[in-house]
């Protein structure tokens, strides 16, 4: 039997690509070495959101209960249960993906796979025998894994990556986090909320370096207030690991030595290239593709983390759909332009489009509209007055080119602006759209007005 498509990898790119191909009436198999759902579902987005929900609730109850009129005399948490809940959420969603495979009659094979030649995917069956799938096309969606810091190998106890961090039991007393991207910041928030002494170390001038600087600075201030020690412009120059802990020498303007039970390395990801024939890679080791998501080998396509940044589940899903649509039609697939980025600490950070830095670098003339949640009725009523919306509005036509939000539920608010950018909406379109009152989304509306001196509540 010959497949139309065999997908190697069952993460967001892999399972979504497989389902889309099945929806197009194709005969599809998906080979996954660990568990359907990939990093996102098993060791990334989803389980960490479970942990972070616990953290934000605990943070709220611990620090703001009395403001809200509650009293807890013996507020306590059960660390093992918090971790167990996170795992249970992953289990449930992973089996959900397996159900979707069944529903779409996708052959799901749990085994490590390799691509010996175009049109063939090989894997070791449970009985140990080598099996081969024959297929018209192959989609490589093998993803990426945490990138280790040279000289500081992951040992799972005192030096960990995000994978270990989400099942770390017992809770560390002191934690050093190297890298203040979304993953570093989210774990910093999580452990700090539960009382771990957290130090966040970032080589670049700001935490969340890809975000708009104004947002990064605002978040830095808030996290510092929550008790997280932040070292920016700081480089780890020496490391020493023992059975009980870790010691890092950090160089900024001055040299400092930091000690902790554990160091979390969150400095990015490295590609997971499948075995078999060698595909053309970029200098960083990610698979190179053409405008149809095809690798240098005809009939072999790639999508998701394995084709390079941004390493985001929603981008991977979108790319896989584009790639699969392209494989089975003559339409030219789209390449990534605008995508939202989210960080789930509290307050949350969400953005889409250009940062102010990027817009200036591109030489675009633009207006900035800002609105603080302190002046938003719903935010005050919910007791979440922190943060603001910042919009970049291009001139002369007034299209939205960037949106940056730091606030409660920022990650839910950003969708509207993604749509606005994707549909090339102008400030008039947002202005003329009624935003329900009272909602946090009114702040977006007001930020548009603010750019033209027309915000009502400020």
């Amino acid at each position: 039997m010959k497949y139309d498509l065999v997908v190697v990898g069952g993460g967001p790119a892999g399972y979504v690509g497989a389902i889309r191909a099945a929806q197009l009436g194709k005969r599809v198999a998906c080979v996954e070495k660990e568990r359907a759902g990939g990093t996102c579902l098993n060791w990334g987005c989803i389980p960490t959101k479970s942990l972070l929900r616990n953290a934000e609730l605990y943070q709220l109850l611990r620090h703001r209960a009395s403001d809200l009129g509650f009293r807890f005399d013996n507020l306590a948490f059960d660390w093992s249960k918090i971790i167990a809940r996170s795992r249970a959420v992953s289990d449930k969603l992973a089996s959900g993906v397996e159900f979707l495979f069944k529903k779409h009659k996708i052959e799901y094979i749990k085994a490590p796979a390799s691509i010996p030649e175009p049109g063939r995917v090989a894997y070791k069956a449970t009985d140990g025998k080598e099996q081969t799938l024959e297929t018209e096309s192959i989609l490589v969606a093998t993803g990426a894994t945490s990138r280790p810091l040279p000289g500081l190998p992951i040992n799972g106890t005192t030096v960990i990556d995000s994978h270990y961090a989400m099942i770390l039991d017992p809770q560390p007393k002191r934690l050093l986090i190297i890298g203040a991207g979304a993953i570093g910041v989210e774990f910093a928030y999580f452990f700090n909320a539960f009382g771990t002494e957290v130090t966040l170390i970032e080589m670049l001038p700001n935490i969340l370096p890809v975000e708009d600087t104004e947002i990064s600075v605002a978040l830095e201030r808030t996290l510092a207030k929550q008790g997280i020690k932040i070292f920016t412009n700081s480089k780890v120059t020496e490391t020493s690991v023992s059975k009980d802990g870790v010691r890092l020498t950090v160089e900024a303007k001055q040299k400092q030595t930091l000690e902790a039970d554990c160091a979390l390395v969150a400095i990015g990801v490295s590609p997971v290239v499948p075995g078999g024939l060698s595909l053309k890679l970029d200098p960083k080791g990610f698979i190179q593709i053409d405008e149809r998501y095809q690798t240098n080998v005809p009939g072999i396509y790639a999508a998701g983390d394995i084709i390079g940044p941004p390493w985001l589940a929603h981008v991977a899903m979108w790319e896989a759909i584009q790639a699969v649509n392209g494989i089975f039609s003559t339409a030219t697939p789209k390449r990534l332009k605008t995508f939202p980025g989210c960080t789930y600490c509290q307050p949350q950070v969400a953005s889409v489009g250009l940062t102010e830095r990027a817009a200036k670098e591109k030489g675009i003339t633009f207006k900035v509209g800002k609105f603080p949640f302190l002046a938003n009725g719903k935010a005050l009523a919910a007791g979440e007055p922190e943060g603001f919306v910042k919009l970049l509005i291009s001139e002369p036509y007034g299209e939205i080119i960037g949106a940056h939000i730091i606030s409660a539920e920022a990650t839910e608010l950003v969708a509207e602006l993604g749509l606005a950018i994707n549909l090339e909406a102008t400030h008039e379109d947002l202005e003329e759209t009624i935003h329900a009152h009272p909602t946090l989304s009114e702040a977006v509306h007001e930020a548009v007005g603010n750019a033209f001196g027309l915000a009502i509540h400020i």
């Binding site: 036509y397 007034g398 299209e399 994707n422 549909l423 090339e424 909406a425 102008t426 008039e428 379109d429």
Partner: protein, 423 residues
Amino acid sequence: MPIPIEMPKLSDTMTEGTLLRWVKKVGDSVEVGDVLAEVETDKATMEMEAFDEGTLSEVYVGEGQTVQVGEKLALLLGAGEPKTASTAGKQTETAKQPAPDKKQAQTKPAEPPAAPAPLKITATDSGVRVKASPLARKVAADLGVQLEDLPGSGPGGRIIRDDVLAAHEKQSSDTPQPAKTTAPAMVGQPASQSDVQVPLTGMRRTIAARLLEAKTTIPHFYLQADVDAEPLVQLRQQLNAANESVGLPKYTVNDFLLKATAVAATHVPKANASFAGDAIIQYAAVHLACAVAVDDGLVTPVIRDAHSKTLSQISSEVKDLASKARSKKLKPEQYQGGTLTLSNLGSYGVDQFFAIINPPQSLIVSVGAILRKPVINAAGAIVPGQRIVLGLSCDHRVVDGAIGAQFLAELKRLIETPALMLV
């Protein structure tokens, strides 16, 4: 419920229509099927029928006014229905004050046409709903790019800014563009006071757009053959003499040429075809279009299934179609769907020419007048002869030189041995 009556879309290419005459007047009662008005489209003058009954209560568009497809023309009230101030008022207002972006489209024949200086073309110039992003619309308005014919690369085929910029760039470079019929660089301007500026009719606009498209996008090539018309002239004389004695109408030379073209197309089916992007459509039937000059342009009524019609059927049908075409009474099915065309300028004394292909067809036969000429006969002597020159314009994407030549040879054979087309 008051029922608004809108400008109907009476043909595929119709974007606007001129209300020639109101047959019903305000206050008249209307039955289903009654003719409300006469409307001139790009192709023909048509009667607009009522689909509902009631009383014609308001008329928003005056006679001679051109409006977009979908625009409200009148309001019909049901029996005993009072006209509500709000609806009537609102609609009158809409009609009187067209939305700013439609202003340019509303032609008022009474007013002299404006100077051609402000050629800023708005997005909804022809009333077709265009899927374009708000930004694309603004940029298009600013750069004077017409959105209607642009391919959209955004979500769901939406036209986005980049599409407009690309079109603008193309427009600014010297490549002629089909969508550019009204682009400033190619537009003539009145040079003196005595020059007359005639506003385009719907038909003129369509001819301009279609023929520019045909001539610039179809790779034309041309074949020509000099044909002995004597046998045909003789056959025609015989048949007409016979017909006359029993009071039947006479055949024209054109009738024979139409018949010959239809037969030739069945004998060379590869010539009866269209280019369809990723395929060639070879038609099973021959629907033969015939160019007919009318007052302000030309139309090409279609003789359907011409391959299975006799000379006399073709003759009477083409007479009927031509007279309908001249009085603009053709129905859409009478001028759509042709698979090839014959254009005859013989009656004007033209001895030969090459017509522009009528897309999506890939072949047009152009014939001149039958002329007396000296010819060298089989014995090598110069003798008086009657000759007709056939021109053939072919779309090279569909019809190669050899196929075109085969078709032309077949046509020549049929004309020179005209009995063959009758069997």
